[in-house]
């Protein structure tokens, strides 16, 4: 009986202590609309300036951010060229305004964060949320720093070759942030 009296409260207390302030936390979806349409060729790229502070869900939790749980770029990619294109997304941590692919590549702060997404000539691909999240595998740490930082950065969609032409319509950056007090 004595064991019985103590084991339940002890286990409950251990659980509560282990959980601690983690009880006051949650996962929140933050979406940021990208310029649409975003038309891209090697000599004419359009930057997407991202300021997550303009999104209410991010602003409300900006001081309590713990992690970037999930991230994806969604939208419809249309290959307007005559050969297949592998679309990558690059990021510069600070706002930039490069106008061609070479300038992005020469920017020492630029990091490839997403891709490649192959789109056949003339094809339109609406990327799925799961599929897009998987394409962030290597770029997640760089974006994590920005999301956990000031939330301001610039994205560029580029093709993987010297000749390509595509556009992104209904583009959205979707992040799931974890916040807690």
């Amino acid at each position: 009986m004595r064991t019985c009296r103590w084991i339940l409260p002890t286990l409950a207390l251990a659980g509560a202590l282990a959980a601690g302030c983690m009880l006051i936390s949650g996962q929140f979806v933050v979406s940021f609309d990208l310029p649409s349409p975003l038309t891209v060729t090697p000599t004419a790229v359009t930057c997407a300036d991202v300021d997550l502070n303009t999104v209410a869900a991010y602003r409300e939790h900006a001081d309590d951010l713990k992690d970037l749980t999930d991230i994806a770029i969604l939208g419809e990619f249309t290959n307007t060229g005559s050969t297949a294109v592998d679309v990558d997304v690059w990021m510069t941590p600070d706002p930039t305004a490069h106008t061609d692919a070479v300038a992005v590549a020469l920017d020492e702060t630029a990091v490839k964060v997403w891709g490649p997404l192959r789109v056949g000539p003339g094809a339109t691909t609406k990327i799925g949320w799961d599929e897009s999240a998987a394409l962030f595998a290597k770029g997640r740490p760089a974006l994590l720093r920005e999301v956990m930082g000031d939330g301001v950065f610039t994205l560029y969609a580029l093709g993987g070759t010297s000749s390509y032409s595509f556009r992104l319509e209904h583009g959205v950056l979707v992040a799931v942030i974890t916040a807690g007090k």
Binding site: F28, E76, W129
Partner: protein, 181 residues
Amino acid sequence: MKRIVPILPLALALALAGGAAEAAGVGVGAFGGTWIPVAQEDAGTGVVYGLRLAVDVVPLLRLEPYWAKSAPGDVEETFAGLPYTRDGGEISAFGLNAMLSTGGPLRFYPFVGVGSCRLTREATDERTEIGYDAGLGLGLSPLPGLELDLRGEFVVIPLDEASRKSVNVTLGVSYHFLNLP
């Protein structure tokens, strides 16, 4: 996983030491119900099911090793006018619950527990963490040896400085095939 290993034999040893000469019993059961996310915008309501072993080793105390699988629902959202679906993932858990165990055809009991939880989701790194649960149950014994349970439990899985939280509402049935004086 490693952290939970010492807990199981310790809890069993405590219980056995306190009631070796008392009533004992063993039962096996299954349960299923609804998994409800708490403060998780990246998961929908899903299902939970599993198996459990009821071990009465001390009067008023029941230990219950369990295995459970939760399938949080997919998230469906519309971004920039297009619909998207994100996989809700899966949580596999095994652990131990401890609860007050009173006799009679109708019983109302609190319980607490701890377990190892493996979280998986498409395009997300797999994680294994210790989770904690606490809840209330209502037990009914319509026939000797047979028990029906309705339970509500709050589950917390700490993740670094935050957590995943859910409420499980389950119905279970168990058969007690071994009752020793």
